[in-house]
């Protein structure tokens, strides 16, 4: 077990290293113009040159990379260039992460609380109206562009209930709509997966034996199927939770939620390299940790899995 964790950890570090390096190099392919922004027009070429040199962009690429890693090892993620000049990247991120975390976790909880039971019920009443209704919902969510219904929800529901349109952390009521919007998608996907795993599980032999034992259908559902169906889900759960933290770019922009969603987009578009690099590091780590936790969680719920026995790639 310990050995396994070490190995996994080492692997993850290598993966992270590759990812961060790749993104680092990709960022250097961006046009230099981006670093100057609107100011470029009024700067003389010499001034621009000084500016770019000060940013370190004139060093040989390997030197830049080396400096980057040295700083990183010192725990210095650098300072933002074009997003919030001279503000340490970590300060920017830490300002936002709480919002995203709160919304993300809340949305995951809401969507699990609604999506999972929905999926269970759909599986139990497979082919009947509830199942159809649920499927209709899922198809709707998949099919209709979310930016259309998010905006409709925001405008009409706030209008109908006379709520403020924008998010205001001090007013609990303004948390509700973004949360609902944020959960609509995950609810659909949880319901869909849960239903599928339940149906798969229901077709297994041990269910037949349980029935033959005289166990009630409902008991079968909850005591046998549910937990087993949760296993494939459990593997993805931490990853989904962690990734929900990144938030929905669109919802955050609509409701003025100062979360991480738009940060990444903004950071890349503004070519704020240190910020992008830190974000990539964070997101990738989250992904990798998520995967790892998923495996651990799975091993916890599934007695069949022992660590170290064959490296499973999900």
């Amino acid at each position: 077990m310990i050995e396994y964790i070490w190995k996994r950890l080492l692997q993850s570090v290598v993966t992270l290293f590759i990812i961060v390096t790749a993104v680092f190099l990709l960022l250097r392919l961006l046009p230099e113009e981006g670093y100057l922004g609107a100011a470029a027009d009024k700067m003389t070429p010499e001034q621009q040159e000084i500016y770019l040199t000060n940013l370190g962009l004139r060093d040989p690429i390997l030197v830049q990379l080396g400096n980057f890693y040295i700083d990183l090892l010192r725990g210095d993620f650098g300072k933002s260039i074009t997003y919030r000049t001279d503000v340490p990247v970590m300060d920017i991120i830490s300002d936002k992460i709480m919002y995203s975390l709160t919304f993300g976790v809340a949305a995951v909880i809401v969507s699990i609380l609604i999506g999972v039971p929905l999926g269970i019920l759909m599986a139990q009443f497979k082919g009947r109206w509830l199942d159809r209704l649920g499927t209709g919902y899922i198809v709707f969510i998949v099919a209709v562009p979310s930016m259309v219904y998010f905006l409709l929800i925001q405008v009409y529901i706030t209008d109908f209930f006379n709520l403020p349109m924008l998010f205001d952390e001090d007013r609990p009521i303004t948390w509700v709509l973004p949360l609902i919007s944020l959960s609509l998608g995950p609810i659909a996907s949880y319901a869909m997966w849960m239903r599928r795993y339940m149906v798969d599980e229901l077709n297994k032999d041990y269910i037949k034996l349980a029935r033959a034992k005289g166990v009630k259908e409902r008991t079968i559902m909850f005591r046998h199927v549910l937990r087993n169906a949760f296993i494939p889900l459990s593997q993805y759960l931490p990853a989904t939770i962690l990734l929900t933290i990144t938030g929905s770019i669109y919802i955050e922009s609509l409701y003025s939620i100062p979360g991480m969603g738009g940060l990444l987009v903004d950071a890349i578009q503004r070519q704020d390299n240190p910020l992008v690099q830190a974000l990539v590091l964070i997101f990738s780590s989250l992904g990798i940790i998520g995967l790892f936790l998923g495996d651990v969680l799975m091993a916890l719920v599934d007695p069949r899995i022992k660590f170290g026995k064959g490296e499973s790639v999900r």
Binding site: L36, I50, N54, T82, T85, D86, V87, S253
Partner: protein, 591 residues
């Protein structure tokens, strides 16, 4: 939140709320040159001078000033008792002349990457210090003669220097504080000192910022809005109108797309008016140094663009009203600009610069003229026969991040091709990158005919003639064939230099107007419009703001009052006419 109990005692607080989508990167006014950034600083920090609502310079931190004969040495007497305070209003220090020296020193230090340093080089040895040629700052032309006397020595005669002081690079900074904070200066409300009308009491980037009236402000009786609340929303353009209707904000720009809807709704109709224009000038430029891909035939373009008749045919063929309809469908003419320098920029004895003799004929006539266009086309066809291949490919890029521009480009393509005939020109609308557009397209010359813009750097006509002199990165008219003067310089450069040599506006301005007229007459550019567009719903009165063509004054909330009801368009026009009248008077008085 802390103001709740105050409300009962005081009369109702005047709060102005707005949503915005462009966040500022920094509060460091010594570094930035971006409007939305220095717009914040303008309310937090005062400079030496400010303007009144008609554009007449008024004392700011300087109570009085004088300059020498040729306007190359300027002396300012500072107001006493003005304090630097922190965001909670606690006094930190007094504002002295040294603070201006410290500010300029910071700006001119290359390692601080100030993007406004180039303006500050007007000061003697500023450029040399910036380039590191001299390291002793005392040789630079700024001196604190004592705590309350400040002297600027300039590189040369600069009659418009006063207008430059309205720019952030000449703002004061409390040197000790700046040193203490280092790079962190201006990164948060705490890392900042205030001497202006407002304090930044809340600053959460990408979330909100709140400006609260500064109780220690030297001129606090002229500050009427108690609080300005900015709420960030990336979709501001889409949600702001709705927020305005619900009374959640006090200003909203109304996107062109939904204008009809507002105008057709009697309830909404009275809420909106045209927005005021800016001094940004937009024009279509003919590129004399085409560097684009062979597929768009740069050589052929070069031949064509060097033919005056060809240029003139395009010049007269551009239906600017039709293009303008994409952003201002109701009164497109109101935004059009027939010269490069917009109206109301400078004047000679109350005569607006654009009405000076060389420019007046352009100012008062629309360049669009079908018949002329076709006439010139015939001539050009005849002259270019055998030299250029027709149709001439006209590469016309636009920024793909700007949907309005994309629309405009499509409209123009169709309109000009239809008028001049597809056998004559083939306009190629090309989507440029959304970031780094200028660096990718305009500066390297990867266009044939393109919409470009320019904003003024100080209140002098030379600011608008600059981009077209040798070394400019616009359309390189110096490369135009047949425009070399006897001294081997481009005719245009000579005209500009001659104008620059004159100091008295009466002499100076007409010379610049001549140069500008030359550009238009020879069809090097097609003037198009002024900046600022569309309609807004706002509880602000646009005519009580400080008026300056350049710099930060007009971003100040000082002196502004909230209206109970937003102006409608009729009221706006009335008020505008009124204001223009009053302004002419005020300007005349000021002389």
């Amino acid at each position: 939140a802390c103001s709740e109990d105050e409300e009962e005692t005081k009369e109702k607080e005047s709060v102005y709320r707005i949503v915005y989508s462009g966040e500022i990167k920094t509060l460091n006014y010594l570094k930035t040159s971006e409007t939305n950034e220095f717009a914040v600083a303008a309310n937090l920090v005062d400079g030496l001078i400010e303007y009144d609502k008609y554009g007449v310079p008024q004392p700011g931190l300087a109570e009085s000033w004088e300059s020498n004969e040729d306007a190359s040495v300027w002396t300012f007497n500072l107001r006493k008792g003005v304090k630097w305070v922190d965001y909670e209003g606690n006094e930190v220090a007094e504002v002295t002349a040294h603070d201006f020296v410290d500010g300029l020193k910071y700006v001119l230090d290359a390692k601080n990457e100030s993007s406004t340093a180039w303006i500050a080089t007007v000061v003697k040895n500023g450029s040399a210090f910036y380039d590191g040629e001299i390291t002793d700052f005392s040789q630079v032309g700024v001196k604190a003669l004592d705590d309350y006397t400040l002297e600027y020595t300039l590189e040369g005669p600069t009659p418009y220097f006063l207008s430059m002081l309205n720019y952030v690079c000449f703002f004061p900074v409390y040197g000790e504080f700046l040193e203490e904070k280092g790079d962190a200066f201006g990164t948060s409300k705490e890392n900042f000192l205030y001497n202006g009308a407002y304090l930044l009491t809340d600053f959460e980037p990408q979330n909100k910022r709140v400006l609260t009236k500064n109780p220690t402000y030297w001129d606090k009786d002229n500050v009427f809005i108690d609080k300005i609340e900015y709420k960030y929303n990336k979709e501001a353009a889409n949600v702001a109108p709705e927020l305005f209707l619900r009374g959640e904000v006090d200003e909203a720009a109304i996107p062109t797309a939904i204008l009809d809807d507002w105008f057709n709704d009697p309830k909404k109709k009275d809420l909106i008016r045209q927005s005021t224009t800016s001094f940004y000038s937009y024009f279509y430029a003919f590129n004399f140094d085409p560097q684009f891909d062979a597929e768009y035939e740069p050589e052929n373009w070069k031949v064509a663009v060097n033919n005056k008749n060809f240029r003139k045919s395009l010049f007269h063929a551009l239906d600017r009203v039709s293009a303008m309809l994409t952003e201002e469908p109701y009164e497109p003419e109101s935004l059009l600009n027939n010269t490069i320098t917009p109206k109301n920029f400078v004047d000679v004895d109350g005569v607006d610069y654009t009405q000076l003799e060389p420019l007046a004929k352009f100012t008062n006539n629309d360049s669009f003229d079908k018949d002329l266009a076709l006439e010139y086309k015939e001539k050009a066809m005849a002259e270019l026969q055998g030299k250029a291949t027709f149709p001439v490919k006209v590469l016309m890029p636009y920024n793909s991040g700007m949907p309005d521009w994309a629309n405009r480009a499509q409209v123009i393509e169709q309109q000009m091709e239809n008028l001049l005939g597809k056998d004559y020109i083939d306009i190629i609308v090309y989507a440029g990158p959304s970031t780094g557009f200028l660096g990718e397209i305009r500066r390297p010359g990867k266009f044939a005919f393109m919409e470009v813009n320019w904003g003024p750097d100080y209140a002098d006509p030379s600011t608008y003639t600059d981009p077209f002199t040798t070394g400019g990165t616009y359309n390189k008219p110096e490369l135009a064939e047949g425009y070399t003067d006897t001294n081997g310089q481009p005719i245009y450069d000579n005209m500009v230099n001659k104008a620059k040599a004159a100091i008295d506006p009466k002499e100076r301005y007409p010379l610049f107007a001549e140069a500008e007229a030359f550009l238009i007459e020879e069809a090097f550019v097609v003037p198009y419009k002024v900046g600022g567009s569309g309609y807004i719903a706002s509880r602000l009165n646009p005519f009580d703001a400080q008026y300056s063509q350049f710099g930060v004054s007009n971003e100040k909330f000082k002196g502004r009052k909230l209206l109970d009801k937003p102006m409608n368009n009729e009221q706006f026009k009335e008020a505008k006419a009124q204001w223009e009248k009053e302004r002419a008077q005020a300007l005349a008085e000021a002389k």
